[in-house]
Amino acid sequence: MSYPELALETDLTYMFPEIVTRDTRPGYDGYLVDPSHLIEFATSLRDKIGYDYLTSVTGVDYINDGKMEVVYHIRKSTGGVPLVFKVQLPREEPVVASLVPLFPGAEFQEREAWDLLGIKFTGHPDLRRILMWEGFDGHPLRKDWREGYFEDEGKPFKSRWPEGHFQKSENRNPFGRNVDYPAGFDPEEWVAQPETALYSSLDKMTREEETGIDTEQIIINLGPQHPSTHGVFRMAVKLDGETIVGLKPVMGYLHRNHEKIGERNTYLANFPYTDRLDYFCSMSNNFGYALAIEKLMGVKPPERTEYIRVIMAELTRIVNHVSTIGFLLNDLGAYFTPILYAFEERELILDIFEAVSGSRMMCNYFRFGGVSRDLPEGILDKIKDLVFERLTRKIDELELYLTNNEILRHRSEGVGILTPEQALAFSTTGPLLRASGVPYDLRRADPYSIYDRFEFDVAVRYHGDVYDRYLVRIDEIRQSIRILQQAVKGIPEGPVQEGRPQYQVRVPPGESYGRVEGPKGELGFYVISNGKPNPWRYHVRAPSFINLTPLEQMCIGQKVADVVVILGSIDIVLGETDR
């Protein structure tokens, strides 16, 4: 299974002879690019053909071929399917040119590929580990790296049945120690060298003294334990007085190597894990993963299921946006009143999720080619009540409450500006991109499921500041309600599962990239199957992670109090950022 026919004017292999070849492996698509000409190729792709929006960069370890592959997904900001190109590198010494000078949005993703797979990117401005710490030995997503409690290459483990003698996992420790350090690393002696690296990366930023008065610049740490960071997120900030001259985000405190867990899991068992990525929006996480695997398997869910999926995804969007607005107001100092008003609606929607899927937040509702069960009786009426009678009224009330509030406007207008050019270059997605004046919404730009049947507008605002990000979310809630109204009217009767539900699905070999317009941005799942019960590669393109790339850009020149607000307006969830 692969992407639809590329609407390229010319086949790239004719445009770039000897540099580009088609990827002819069965089930694969896209192009293989000669690593030494990568920059040249990417530059022409951007400047001549209009692929200006690099959405995803990741690596794959083909240990059996002795190769390491870097996979790029690039899009046109005017819409359409992504173009995939790959470079293959020797596994022992994977070095490739960094694309950060062309696409600054690759910065964190390349750091992640270095951290987890050990791929070196020459020309990267700041190639440090991003999710693991400096005392970590090895690159955990490499196929020969094994975790401390390693049991088997893939689930199900043989020790569970039929001779499942219970054993607590913490009592089982095959290496005799469950932490490995790099050679010459002594945790007792260790002083925070990575901090030195972090701070020296900040030191690269200097500010021209306009006044001629020499002021001292100080570095302060916001987080990781700080309520305004929405979790365990840390920002090392360099300050000149109260003005920010440099900022480096530090993350990974909640890292659990979701992707490695995913590669050990069976395909089906990944569903409940995707719930825990962005724990506010488990339904859309399920959606993206289901799309990726369904593309590989070649199944299509029945009509009723498509409607149920859209209803759930849009309800999730409302849940996420009302909470985001609430949290943003918390960051602005409106302590907990707006968020509790927002939570009132959220609770009502979570009640629906609970009745439908069995859990309020960890829904685990989608299956390959269907959903786990049909809507219970009476739930559709409850959803109708909400979308036709209550939600619009409540959003109006929220707007009356907040939109013209002078304090809110003073604090957010003109703060944290991101221009459309920057927003695209930094690969931002979701409301952050659309508030900067780029009307790019996957539901319209590259429609999936049945979104092409509904009438709705792509919400867009043009100032690119915090206030517009607030407004664009309000607009999106209204559009979601519109979609919901059409969906609950149009939902047909019928089965909810294509074929018989199976616990061991057969996934043909190949690659697949399934993506949805999640509430936070493009949530993509890049999955490679080799026909075995466990995925060979399972990568999550996390919108909260990539949307943090322009954080420094947005904060420079602002006051320290604005950092909190700007971060709140990006809308991150650490479960997804750190994975």
Partner: protein, 202 residues
């Protein structure tokens, strides 16, 4: 006028504040601690404060709610328990965090496996309550429970659920999930009827 936005906003807060008391008066003291009051507070027409006074009052649990599996057994007339589980192992294979451990019984004379688990252990601390085991069990033998208050003082003693602790009677299952139970019983009766018909014709 400058400050109008703030005033309007404060008006919304005032409305919310007053609504709570108006609602209190309208419900004549029955807004709290009554099922109707609770249902009203989580309905589309809810106004005012929406707090649930946990643990004195609890939200009603929908049928599909899932939390930690249990094993269904039939109560025999002589008081023994007959577990529906055949120790086929599908639940332990499908379990995402691999927290289900099953030892299959073997016949001491022949050494052949018997469809009955000798031991069945679930580590409730590892269980992520995803419900896949219950969804894919072909014998309706493992189901998701509705009790969610499982905090305890000693996790290595109290959070490891053995067969005894996991077992719950069919009557309990019929009580917490009546719709599912009725559907499964109907399907079972139908399958039984087909089998009986086949037996009589052959």
């Amino acid at each position: 006028m400058y400050g109008l936005g703030i005033l309007k906003g404060l008006g919304v807060t005032l409305k919310h504040f007053l609504n709570t008391y108006i609602d209190d008066i309208r419900w004549k003291g029955k807004r709290y601690y009554t099922p109707e009051g609770l249902a009203h507070r989580s309905s589309k027409s809810a106004t005012g404060i929406f707090t649930v006074q946990y643990p004195e009052e609890k939200l009603p649990i929908p049928e599909e709610f899932r939390f930690i599996p249990f094993l269904v057994y039939e109560e025999k007339e002589d008081g023994t328990k007959e577990y529906r589980c055949t120790s086929c192992g599908i639940c332990s294979k499908v379990c995402p965090p691999q927290c289900i451990w099953i030892i299959r019984s073997t016949d001491p004379n022949t050494g052949r496996p018997i469809p009955d688990p000798a031991e069945f252990t679930i580590d409730a601390d590892v269980c992520m309550s995803c419900g896949l085991c219950a969804e894919f069990c072909p014998f309706d033998a493992i189901k998701m429970d509705h009790t969610y208050e499982l905090a305890n003082y000693n996790r290595s003693r109290n959070s490891i659920y053995d067969k005894e602790k996991l077992g719950k009677p069919v009557s309990y299952y019929a009580q917490v999930r009546p719709i599912n139970f009725a559907r499964e019983e109907a399907a079972r009766a139908e399958a039984e009827a087909i089998r009986a018909a086949r037996r009589s014709t052959s």
